[in-house]
Symmetry: C2
Subunit: 70 residues, 2 copies
């Protein structure tokens, strides 16, 4: 398991936070996802053999937001 | 062309408005989409031979929101 923090772009409210959290949590290999609106961050605990940055970014982009490495 | 107004659920801010507007506008057959955050409405001008409520609802749901007939 790994824990990493990324920057999330495009969020404006708690509905956005809920949407990003749900999109990332739904991915196979993700055990925990925590999104901070003010800090614009996603902290995620995941299985490195099944998830990587590109997959997390896809999940976030599919929900209509952006994900960047910090 | 038809113009109809629907209820949009789950929006919390202008970033949500922009996301719903973009998702609906991108559908073939939609000429204009206007979203109101406070009223929770989507007003859409569309070609009835190419678009129906189910397609509009799919577009909105894919973006993470809900669409209901009023």
């Amino acid at each position: 398991m790994a824990e990493k923090t990324y920057r999330v772009t495009g969020m404006g409210c708690e509905a956005c936070v809920a949407r990003v959290t749900k999109a990332v949590s739904a991915r196979d290999g993700v055990s925990r996802a925590a999104v901070d609106l003010i800090g614009e961050t996603l902290t995620v605990v995941y299985d490195e053999s099944r998830v990587d940055f590109a997959k997390l970014r896809d999940a976030v982009e599919d929900a209509g937001y952006g994900l960047e490495e910090i």
